[in-house]
Amino acid sequence: MAIFNLTVNGNSKQVDVDPNTPMLWVLRDHLDLVGTKFGCGIAQCGACTIHMDGAAVRSCQLPVSAAEGVKITTIEGISEKGDHPVQKAWVEHDVPQCGYCQAGQIMSAVALLKDNPSPSDEDIDNAMNGNICRCGTYTRIKAAIKTASQNV
């Protein structure tokens, strides 16, 4: 166990955990931020996607020891009122079915649009390739990303 000082959604947080603990479980079990989801634990599904200094990373693969000194953003922190253009587009297209994968999808989409505000279909396919949706909402996700790209 060791103490780690983290910056999550702009707030300073301190946790006392095993250095190998993935950020996924630090967020969910220790910081009460359960929006970031567990899907596979091996970087295959994207449900756990968060931002590290703005870039999308799989939090199941990010040990807490590597998360100090960077800015961590989770689904709870991308906007104050749930009104980020990507979130708004998600509402407009009524994207979710079961909804479980959607936090991860949104985090990947936000990171994509930050780097590439007007992505092509292929850019979207590539950026979203790490996010599985078992319910099959891919066409709506893509449409929502295009709508959001007009408003970022």
Partner: protein, 746 residues
């Protein structure tokens, strides 16, 4: 208009009105029609008045509608309350939707399964709305001293024109709540629907997109511990001994012990399927610590003996032979081949033998499909707190009512002392009907005497069983010299489940018809999987009919219509389980919307149609194969599911069915090596991803006033064959075995 007995008992009414609660629940809920901005929430009422189990009306006119069934992505948490609101004439923008807990007194059939929520809920939900509306009208009549027949309702208001009186529902709710429940109410004529048939946004989306706790895996309670289980590595094995002395000393570990989920002498019911009942439980303070300790437990397993499992199948005595031994793909296949030679007749019309003897052309093809894993994105989990003789559970499950019985039996605690809260399901698809993990969670909680949340890792989830069965069907078709289909022979079965629906199309359309089925016992546990059995039948049958049409020199879509017309004009045999007109209806619709017959350069198209869960669906798929890579351009789906409650949500569900169907057909597969499931996580169990999804999906509904039928499943089964048939057009190769990716790169 339709008169309906309200069936809402005075007793349950009195009991519920006594429960009329304050605004406490509001903080967890968003208004149905609301955007995710808190300031847009309406002011809370000071007092709530309970009209019945479904409806509470606040003194300020805000209405809470309970959604009775669990929500797993079918969007019933929006569409079921819409049905209530329609008959209530409520203002949807002032409706708050709440998930009801398991409550058998106020609600019926709180299930997910068989695409039945809307179909079965249709009349009760409408009646609940209409009853509350009538109570409000009676209250208005009483206080305004006018005849009830002169009162009109609209958008949450009552009015009486000639006396110029008007009031919102909240103003009369307190009086309405004291009136006796009417015995009979009149339901609207569907042509008067205002809300049903309009698209309303999913009421949970604001929470989903902001990461609010909604799912079982998010559930937390003061003092809660995390638990995980260790199950045997192979089907056919069971726990012999274990040594956790080292693992117990690891940081954050509370205890490690052996648990028995279902007792050996327990008479299981239909959904009590689980192979591994002797497990190791690891309980600790945090998920990561428990995951690590799990790996440090030393385990020894032994071979399991064969046994006979007795079951209560909804009142019918059932039994299942569970063979010992470690099964592998080859050994399973061999047994399936043997069993197919000893099939039993499930349906016979005319004289199939003679028909085949005089055929001028016989086509015979065999189709196979492997075990499938449900792979809900939210791994299995459940919260349980067994506190003396009281039980509180919360989490995602499809059949709470049935699980409650099993739980009561296992713990020896009466059902009245068990409370089950239903959280949103991160996918179900049948998997969460088999709630052994809820029993496991409760047994673990009882043992450690603390609230616990049981979580399966993805590996636990993928190797725990309850798969879709392994199937095989051989079809034979006899064509005469005029290319008329004169004989049809189906020989099909599965390990362990037989997939056949002997009375479905093309039964009824062919003079000489033979259906033979078989089963092979297995110790691999299986269960319902989105559109059970239909998911394979449709893929095999609709691929085969395509080939028969070709052999007969006919257009595949017209060939299906021709057969259906025959079945309509002169149905062969008895118990034919479909309506040819509605079947033809979806084929005509998809033909029209796809401009069937039009040739586009480089585009290959295939068609498929199926009937299941009381609804009809047809698809046309357009794809290209470039440099050996498949690219799906467009899928058009036509569905007849009667009245569509929430069209955009219904389309979403059908789009999902299309993508899920393509993914499963291409990649879905679980296989075994000496009892060990080969795929344990998404690195080897391939799932469809965005780039493989169709570029465009269009969905159309047949417009009619038939009471709603299923929608969660019907659009799924035909997709497989639409894909196989369009791939054939593109490559000239027929595909007989799933997953298709073994034969074509995708």
């Amino acid at each position: 208009m339709q008169n309906q007995f309200s069936n809402l008992s005075r007793r349950s009414f009195l009991k519920s009105s006594a429960l009329a609660g304050g605004g406490l629940l509001l903080s967890f809920s968003w208004l149905a029609g609301c955007k995710p901005n808190t300031e847009e929430l309406l002011t809370l009422p000071e007092e709530w008045f309970r009209m019945n189990g479904y409806i509470r009306i606040g003194d300020n006119g805000v209405i809470t509608i309970m959604s009775p069934n669990p929500e797993g992505g079918q969007n019933i948490k929006t569409s079921m309350p819409m049905i209530v609101a329609e008959e209530l004439d409520a203002d949807w923008s002032k409706v708050i939707v709440e998930q009801a807990p398991l409550d058998t007194e106020n609600f019926t059939r709180q299930f997910i399964g068989g695409s039945q929520a809307i179909r079965v809920g249709w009349t009760p939900l409408r009646t609940a709305g209409a009853t509350a509306r009538l109570l409000l009208m009676q209250a208005a009549a009483k206080s305004w001293n006018v005849p009830v027949s002169e009162i009109k309702t609209e958008n949450g208001f009552l009015n009486h024109q000639s006396s110029n009186k008007k009031a919102h529902y909240g103003e009369l709710a307190s009086l309405a709540a004291t009136l006796p429940i009417p015995e009979e109410v009149t339901l609207k004529n569907p042509s008067d629907f205002k809300l049903i048939g309009t698209s309303k946004k999913n009421v949970d989306v604001p929470k989903i997109i902001t990461g609010k706790p909604l799912f079982g895996i998010d559930y937390k309670k003061e003092g809660m511990k995390i638990a995980m289980i260790i199950q045997p590595p192979a089907f056919g094995m069971k726990l012999k001994s274990f040594d956790a002395s080292q693992a117990k000393r690891m940081p954050g570990i509370v205890d490690i012990f052996q648990v028995k989920s279902l007792q050996d002498d327990y008479k299981r019911t239909f959904f009590d399927t689980v192979q591994f009942t002797d497990l190791i439980a690891v309980v600790g303070n945090s998920t990561w610590e428990v995951m690590n300790a799990k790996k440090a437990v030393e385990l020894e397993y032994e071979l399991m003996e064969s046994y006979e499992e007795k079951r209560d199948m909804f009142g019918r005595e059932g039994s299942r032979f569970v063979p010992g031994g470690l099964e592998s793909d080859d050994s399973q296949e061999q047994k399936m081949q043997e069993a197919s030679k000893n099939a039993r007749v499930q349906r016979k019309d005319g004289d199939p033998e003679t028909a085949f003897a005089r055929a001028s052309q016989i086509i015979e093809r065999t189709y196979t499909a492997p075990f499938l894993v449900h792979n809900c994105m939210e791994p299995m989990n459940f919260f349980a707190h067994v506190n003396g003789d009281k039980v509180h559970c919360a989490g995602p499950l499809q059949k709470p009512e049935l699980t409650e019985q099993a739980l009561s039996n296992r713990l020896g605690i009466p059902v009245e002392n068990i409370e089950i809260e239903m959280t949103r399901l991160g996918g179900g698809y049948g998997r969460r009907s088999y709630a052994h993990w809820l029993i496991e969670a409760a047994v673990i909680s009882q043992k450690v005497n603390a609230p616990i949340k049981l979580i399966y890792t993805r590996e636990d989830d993928m190797t725990a069983g309850i798969y879709r069965s392994r199937y095989q069907i051989t079809y034979r078709a006899a064509l005469d010299e005029n290319n008329d289909l004169i004989g049809f022979h189906i020989n099909g079965g599965g390990l362990p489940e037989n997939p056949l629906h002997p009375n479905r199309f093309p039964a009824g359309a062919v003079e000489n018809y033979l259906v033979e089925g078989w089963e092979v016992p297995s110790n691999v546990t299986t269960g319902s999987f989105r559109a059970p059995r239909s998911n394979f039948n449709a893929s095999a049958e609709q691929s085969f009919l395509d080939e028969v049409a070709e052999a007969a020199g006919k257009d595949p879509l017209e060939f299906r219509i021709e057969l259906l017309k025959k079945a309509k004009a002169k149905p062969i045999g008895e118990n034919n389980d479909y309506d040819p007109d509605r079947y033809i209806g979806v084929l005509e619709l998809v033909k029209n919307k796809s401009d069937w017959g039009k040739q586009e350069n480089g585009i290959s198209r295939g068609v498929s149609a199926y009937f299941c869960h009381n609804s009809y669906a047809a698809q046309v798929m357009d794809l290209k194969v470039e440099n050996g890579q498949v690219a799906i351009q467009k899928v058009i789906t036509a569905v007849d599911c009667g009245i569509v409650v929430n069209p955009d949500a219904a389309k979403n569900l059908c789009e999902g069915a299309v993508i899920d169907g393509i993914g499963t057909a291409m990649f879905g597969e679980q296989t075994f090596e000496k009892g060990v499931p080969k795929n344990k996580n998404f690195d080897t169990y391939r799932m469809i991803r965005m780039k493989e999804a169709p570029k465009k999906i269009e969905t159309y509904f047949v417009e009619n006033n038939v009471d709603p039928t299923g929608l969660g499943e019907p659009a799924y089964p035909p997709v497989f064959a639409a894909l196989a048939n369009s791939l054939y057009q593109a490559t000239g190769k027929r595909i007989y075995n799933q997953p298709f990716s073994k034969q074509i790169s995708f």
